[in-house]
């Protein structure tokens, strides 16, 4: 199994508070991704990173920011959490290898509830 650790695994917080989720990998993969998963919507990309300090927005990036200061860590921050951000958040990683596309490997997810 790919070495991906998400923390925390569960969190309950109140509207308006800041929240940071962490994704840590031991695979030295170039690409890291944050998705949210909601019923009826599948997996939607929030932000992704293609290297240290290199990040870009996904399809649902409003209200979220990310940082990657080291290859192994990718942080997702909700500056001021809202109830619409209640979701299951998955981190994923993939290699950069010439000659084709590489699979994404997912962490176990963080269940975030915002009251």
């Amino acid at each position: 199994d790919a070495g991906i650790t998400q923390s925390p695994r569960h969190k309950v917080t109140e509207t308006g508070t800041p929240v940071t989720l962490r994704c840590h990998q031991t695979e030295n993969h170039r690409y890291m991704y944050w998705y949210r998963q909601d019923p009826g919507h599948g997996l939607r990309l929030i932000h992704y990173s293609y290297g240290v300090k290199d990040t870009d927005k996904g399809e649902v990036s409003d209200g979220y920011s990310v940082s990657r200061s080291k290859t192994e860590d990718f942080l997702l921050t909700l500056e001021s959490a809202t109830s619409s951000q209640t979701s299951v958040y998955f981190c994923a990683i993939s290699e950069s290898r010439a000659g084709g596309r590489q699979p994404q490997h997912f962490g176990d997810g963080t269940r975030l509830s915002i009251l």
Binding site: Y31, Y35, H41, L43, L45, Y48, Y50, G100, P103, H105
Partner: protein
């Protein structure tokens, strides 16, 4: 653009076959397939690249028709362990940073 999957849900008896389709309104470079069991992380099944290839993984195989911008996942002689939600993910560009857009999933239930 989120790919469209069909059907949204299917119930099979053990040993039956199923096909899950994934289509896009835009030209595709690659299609990924993943399976997710309830309460778990998605798990990679296979990737198909532009070129119309077909791949297999045990009794699960897939095809990619780039002209029709479609991919299909074939589950043969289904087993109870095949139950879960299947997601396709699509990439439109050969360059860029391997950004995948996922469909909303197909829930497959295999019953004895």
């Amino acid at each position: 653009q989120q790919p469209v999957q069909s059907p949204q849900a299917v119930i099979l008896r053990e040993g039956e076959d199923a096909v899950i389709n994934c289509s896009s309104s835009k030209a595709l470079y690659s299609v990924h397939w993943y399976r997710q069991k309830h309460g778990e992380a998605p798990v990679f099944l296979m990737i198909l690249l532009k070129g119309g290839e077909q791949k297999g993984h045990d009794k699960i195989s897939a095809s990619f028709n780039e002209k029709k911008q479609q991919s299909s996942l074939y589950l043969t002689a289904s087993q109870l362990s095949y139950s879960g939600t299947y997601f396709c993910g699509t990439e439109m560009n050969s360059g860029g940073y391997q950004k995948v857009t996922f469909g909303t999933g197909t829930k497959l239930q295999v019953i004895p």
